[in-house]
């Protein structure tokens, strides 16, 4: 077999020397002396156009520029090229696996979150909800006794005979924003704005039913877990900014469209069980939607669902009774005359 010339840096000293290279059965023999065993030889990858081949054995490096060397090397030590192919094959499999696993987790996150929820103690959620209630943007607590009694009566009627996951707390806050929200741990808050906007107790009953369904289904915890999970995934895949994205995601917690639709269906269910007409619920949305240009906060945070469109045409039942008596409704509307 042909003999080649190369430059050797022996890995012990920073000097280069010219060497003669022979292929032998054991591997490479340098200057008819030292032998590099086949198994110890690897190719040094270089991101260069030029055709020099660099081989390594331990810390030693051997550089050969002879264009015929590549062919001779392949014939003498074919496993070097096979190693390259093996790497490529492994990389392709790893890529497919990674894409599959991450895609799978992404797709199943909501389900996964729902499975995790039962393991979170309700007390922990109640605590978290209480902390959320301390947020100043909600305004002051409205604590008029008659108003609260009316609200409690409505809540009782909607949840009669149901087993609740938490110690429920439904309260009104003095913010004039037209919105209502369900915080973790069964902390439901109606803002005074939504009471002012509503024209009947039936409307409030529908809104309350929607929020109560979020509570019954433990949506807040589920959303918290799913949101956090998806943000972690995004960060792992795209890299960068792990911190900001996760913090942002947790602070702007929102329910998914599926959850909103489920809450709309749940509200209809609760209304039907309590024999309250769903027409008020429908009226409320139609009036908000008709307000035009600026999307009201309630619609922004409660995206319309198909259920909601269908509910506008729900037939009234002869057994329906008003959600609250006229005096109860008046008391509820004025609940913020005493604040704390």
């Amino acid at each position: 077999m042909a003999r080649f010339e190369g430059w050797l840096a022996d890995g012990r000293q920073a000097v280069r020397q010219k060497v003669a290279i022979d292929f032998t059965d054991e591997g490479l023999r340098l200057n008819r002396g030292e032998t590099w065993p086949r198994a110890s030889i690897t190719r040094v990858e270089r991101e260069l156009r030029e055709s020099a081949i660099v081989l390594a054995s331990g810390d030693a490096r051997l550089e050969v520029t002879d264009p015929d060397f590549a062919q001779a090397l392949h014939e003498a030590i074919p496993e070097l090229r096979q190693a390259r192919r093996r790497t490529l094959r492994r990389a392709s499999i790893a890529t497919l696996l990674a894409v599959g696993i991450f895609g799978g987790i992404w797709w199943s996150l909501p389900l996964l979150a729902a499975r995790i929820v039962p393991f979170i103690p309700p007390e922990a959620e109640e605590h978290l909800g209480d902390e959320a209630l301390a947020l100043p943007i909600l305004g002051k607590q409205c604590v008029d006794r008659e108003g609260q009694a009316a609200l409690d009566a409505l809540t009782q009627r909607l949840t009669a005979g149901m087993s609740l996951p938490y110690h429920l707390s439904v309260t009104v806050r003095s913010s004039h924003t037209v919105n209502a929200m369900a915080f973790p741990g069964g902390r439901v808050v109606l803002l005074e704005g939504v009471l002012k906007e509503a024209q009947s107790a039936d409307e409030i009953a529908g809104i309350l039913g929607h929020e109560l369904t979020h509570v019954l289904k433990r949506h807040s915890t589920q959303a918290l877990i799913a949101n956090a999970g998806s943000l972690v995934l995004i960060d792992v895949v795209l890299g960068g900014g792990t911190g900001g994205a996760l913090l942002y995601g947790l602070s702007t917690l929102s329910y998914s469209r599926d959850m909103e639709a489920e809450a709309d269906r749940g509200a209809l269910d609760l209304l039907a069980r309590a024999h309250i007409s769903s027409e008020g619920f429908a009226d409320f949305f139609e009036r908000l939607a008709a307000q035009g240009s600026d999307t009201p906060p309630y619609l922004a945070s409660h995206p319309p669902s198909e259920t909601r469109a269908a509910l506008a045409h729900a037939p009234p039942s002869p057994r329906d009774l008003p959600a609250l008596s006229a005096s109860q409704w008046a008391a509820l509307k004025n609940i913020c005359k005493t604040v704390r």
Binding site: A9, R61, A98, A124, H127, V232, T242, L250
Partner: protein, 363 residues
């Protein structure tokens, strides 16, 4: 080994690093990396970064010998995963505490502590990243290494940051020199260690240029803005939509004037800083100098910034190449032939940790 550094470097003949990469080749590689990254949902980027580094290292030469980089994409990926999960744990901690009954003040305290931890980890990441890259660098089969601990570096970095807070930034020269000293004195290749003998005070005068030009920039900016606003008849209301166009132009020009002057001061300081650090760093008897002119460095920084802004960061490999080529042209190496005496120091590769944290922070 003990070496006395008494000879004047300028008298001896200088060797330079060569760089023979070009934009066309780099573009081809970069396009390949981007396409593969898209196909793999971004996972390829670690292997892509490795190929980019190999490109830069392999095209850099010293005394006719190219540098080798033998880090792998797999290493970067594993370190990135570890760092990501570590960071996620830190981020979730305050929320976990809140969930398990901690009051709101504790929660806020934990979030603040998280930020402190992030800064500290960022310093650790910077040092770990340097260590990783140095330990994957070979020249003539001799491997580089960075001793010292990331923790000790981070402690110093954090200390200097506090000092900067107390002194209103006036301690910056000492911060730069202090961190450079720690890193350089721990740097080695083969069995040789680098050394740095210098002090922060020597950079204080050049540092005044930054302060001076910034103050000049503020004054100039305010004068320009008020002149324009005065000519436009002043504000009638604070509503930004009713500002006269002339006033808006004045504010924009004022801000531009400030940034231009501040950048002039900063670049001037950089030239002095680089020159000083190079001249006082040694590697055995091998010495360095880097006499960088204001014009060339300003051109480099300005064009690099423009490239990054215009391409939204996509041009970063080209910016890196421009910077590397500039460094190779600027750095002069004295008595480089002494490098032939280098012998290998074992165990360098194994000691190097990862640089995952830095990836996470995009530093």
């Amino acid at each position: 080994m003990s070496v006395s550094i008494s000879t004047d470097d300028r008298g001896t003949e200088a060797t330079q690093l060569s760089y023979d990469g070009n934009a066309g080749e780099l573009l081809g590689l970069w396009v390949k990396i981007i396409l593969l990254s898209i196909v793999t949902l971004g996972f390829y980027r670690f292997w892509g970064e490795t190929r980019l580094r190999r490109y830069f290292w392999n095209h850099t030469g010293l005394m006719g010998e190219r540098f080798d980089y033998d880090g792998t994409g797999g290493e970067l990926f594993v370190h990135f995963l570890m760092a990501s999960f570590g960071l996620a744990a830190l981020l979730i901690l305050p929320y976990a505490a809140l969930f398990s009954g901690a009051p709101l003040p504790i929660f806020i305290l934990l979030i603040l502590l998280d930020y402190v931890a992030f800064i500290f980890l960022a310093f650790m990441g910077i040092y770990g990243s340097t260590r990783y890259r140095v330990s994957r660098t070979l020249w003539r089969g001799m491997r580089g290494g960075l001793d010292g601990s990331s923790f000790a570096y981070a402690l110093r970095g954090f200390g200097y940051l506090l000092l900067a807070g107390i002194t209103g930034g006036w301690s910056t020269p000492w911060q730069i020199v202090g961190l450079w000293r720690y890193q350089t004195n721990n740097l080695g290749i083969g069995d040789w260690k680098a050394s740095f003998e210098g002090e922060g005070g020597k950079l204080f005068l050049p540092f005044l240029a930054i302060v001076g030009f910034s103050v000049l920039g503020i004054i100039t900016g305010v004068i320009i803005a008020t002149t324009f606003i005065g000519a436009s008849g002043g504000f009638n209301s604070l509503d930004s939509s009713q500002l006269p166009p002339q006033a808006v132009l004045g504010i924009v020009l004022g801000v531009l004037a400030y940034f231009t002057l501040a950048m002039i001061g900063w670049v001037f300081f950089q030239t002095r800083q680089i020159t000083y650090l190079a001249a006082n760093s040694h590697f055995g008897r091998v010495g360095f100098s880097a006499d960088i002119g204001f014009g060339p460095l300003f051109g480099l920084v300005f064009v690099n910034a423009l490239l990054l802004v215009v391409t939204l960061g996509l041009a970063s490999p080209f910016v890196r190449q421009r910077t590397l080529r500039f460094a190779c042209r600027s750095l002069k190496i004295y008595r480089a032939e002494e490098l032939l005496q280098l012998t290998q120091a074992p165990g360098r590769r194994e000691k190097a940790g990862g640089e995952g944290l830095v990836q996470s922070f995009n530093v």
